[in-house]
């Protein structure tokens, strides 16, 4: 059984979680043009290697971030979103 460490609920079966997409910084709503929005909505870095992603513990609707290796499928760390995260 593959597990994921939820910052709120501890170690749980990965089946209890939903993948929520790559972590992207949302563009400034007042200034972003169509191109910027299109890139924010549709485009992904889709890297092989360690990436930062949104995950949700489905039963508790609890969202958090995870650093995961997309080649080896290892989750390196999970943590809560903060105002000035990653990047």
């Amino acid at each position: 059984m593959k597990t994921l460490h939820c910052p709120l609920n501890g170690v749980r079966n990965i089946d209890e979680f939903t993948y929520g997409g790559e972590y992207h910084v949302e563009p400034d709503r007042r200034q972003a043009d169509r191109k910027t929005w299109a890139e924010y909505v549709f485009f992904n870095a889709n890297l092989s290697g360690v990436v930062t992603e949104w995950w949700c513990h489905t039963p508790s609707s609890f969202w958090f971030l995870a650093d995961r290796d997309t080649v080896t499928d290892e989750v390196i760390s999970t943590y809560l979103f903060s105002a000035d995260p990653v990047e």
Binding site: K2, D15, T18, Y19, G21, R34, K35, A38, E39, F42, F43, N44, A45, N46, L47, S48, E53, T70, V71, T72, D73
Partner: protein
């Protein structure tokens, strides 16, 4: 081994032919470099040589000919899509498949056995009706079929109403079928090589040279090559290859798992698909049941097979064909699928001049092999975007004009 066979193998009367050309050093320059020696790359090379006389072409692959998703797909051919753009495109592909064995002088084992898509809800029937209307409008043979007829056509299908999600109707697609996926790429590569195209296996592209927004060459593990034009025809690493040319794509890359059972006597003629159960199944001409459509729940660049997915696929297929509870699973594998937001490919021009994209082939690449090779060759040779692929340009995402085929697949996403 029978002695006769050994003698035949050693006899000089029937020398083994190298169908794909001798291995040789890379030339300094080519008119066209194709990245990826899968079905799409080989087909593109073939149509460039045959229809446009462009033979100074190198097809490069980091692995071997047809060793990627061309070998890993479940060999489903159909054109019963949802959008007019999608239906017209896949219909043209199936037309080319019909005569492909003759054209390539190799039996690709094309069989038109039909495809049955099942509905287990009112919403499912509505989807099938919609597809039947669009399909018929464009000359594709699809029609709604109800349970009495389904039970006669597929007698082993579980039709009883005690099922948790009883079957309510089906979409019968008489044009659907299958073909041997390896033979398709071998056939195209053989005919392309016969016309002078070079296939370079174990030659990985590590970089793309761009000068003033125009591609000038590629850097490979076997040296640098200059070229006039590049076609990117990879699956499973579309984003990674495009990144080398500085292009970002709207793709998420997921494994898609499938499995195959021990062989049985022939008892299932059409391909049967259930979008509700996220499963599809057909019986190969060898007798094995190919069970597919299990997309992993999160992105990964890895072809490992998992036990949870085997359980999911098994549970789903047993809802349809309970007799398979006795069947042993012989193999399970994964292919890497480049999923686009609208489940349509990304084909055509790119932000880099003379660098052409044949990407985002998700779970629909094999059936499109002939037409994508054909249209990409036309684009590269003439510089004009063929009408059939114009809706699939990368630009569509900037215009918010997606070609949504999410309703025409049974793979679980």
């Amino acid at each position: 081994m029978p002695f006769g066979l050994l003698k035949y193998g050693l006899a000089k009367t029937y020398p083994a032919k190298n169908l794909f050309g001798e291995s040789r050093p890379l030339k300094k320059s080519y008119d066209v470099v194709i990245i990826g020696a899968g079905g799409h790359g080989a087909a593109g090379a073939y149509y460039l040589a045959k229809q446009y006389g462009i033979t100074n072409v190198a097809v490069l692959d980091k692995g071997y000919l047809g060793g990627g998703n061309t070998a890993r797909n479940t060999a489903v051919l159909r054109s019963n899509y949802l959008t007019e753009e999608g239906v017209a495109f896949y219909k043209a592909s199936l037309e080319l498949y019909k005569s492909l064995s003759n054209e390539l002088d190799l039996n690709i084992m094309f069989e038109r056995r039909g495809q049955l898509t099942l509905a287990h809800s009112d919403a499912g029937i509505r989807n099938l009706r919609w597809r039947a209307e669009v399909n018929q409008h464009l000359g594709v043979r699809s029609r709604l079929m109800f349970n009495d007829e389904i039970a006669k056509m597929v007698p082993h299908l579980r039709m009883d109403t005690a099922a948790r999600y009883p079957i309510m109707a089906g979409l019968w697609h008489a044009d659907g079928g299958t073909a041997r996926h390896d033979a398709v790429v071998w056939g195209y590569a053989k005919e392309a090589a016969a016309r002078g195209v070079e296939f370079h296996q174990l030659t990985e592209v590590k970089g793309v040279d761009i000068d003033h927004g125009k591609v000038t060459g590629v850097r490979t593990t076997r040296g640098d090559v200059r070229c006039g034009k590049v076609i990117q025809a990879v699956a499973g690493s579309s984003s990674l290859v495009a990144n080398m040319a500085g292009i970002n794509l709207p793709i998420h890359t997921f494994p898609l798992q499938a499995m195959v059972t021990q062989p049985y006597k022939p008892l299932l003629e059409p391909h049967v698909s259930s979008p509700h159960h996220h499963v599809y199944i057909h019986q190969t001409s060898r007798g094995e049941f190919v069970i597919g459509g299990g997309s992993d729940p999160y992105p990964l660049y890895n072809t490992r097979a998992t036990l949870p997915m085997r359980e999911t696929l098994s549970a789903a297929v047993l809802e349809l064909f309970p007799f398979l509870r006795e069947a042993r699973v012989m193999r399970q594998w994964a292919g890497i699928t480049d999923m686009t937001p609208d489940y349509s490919p990304i084909m055509g021009e790119s932000p880099v001049q003379n660098y052409y994209l044949d990407a985002g082939w998700g779970t629909w690449g094999f059936k499109a092999t002939p037409i994508s090779g054909n249209t990409m060759a036309e684009l590269v040779a003439t510089g004009q975007v063929p009408k059939l692929i114009a809706p699939f340009s990368l630009e569509r995402f900037y215009r918010f004009e997606q070609v949504n085929e999410a309703g025409a697949t049974a793979a679980s996403h």
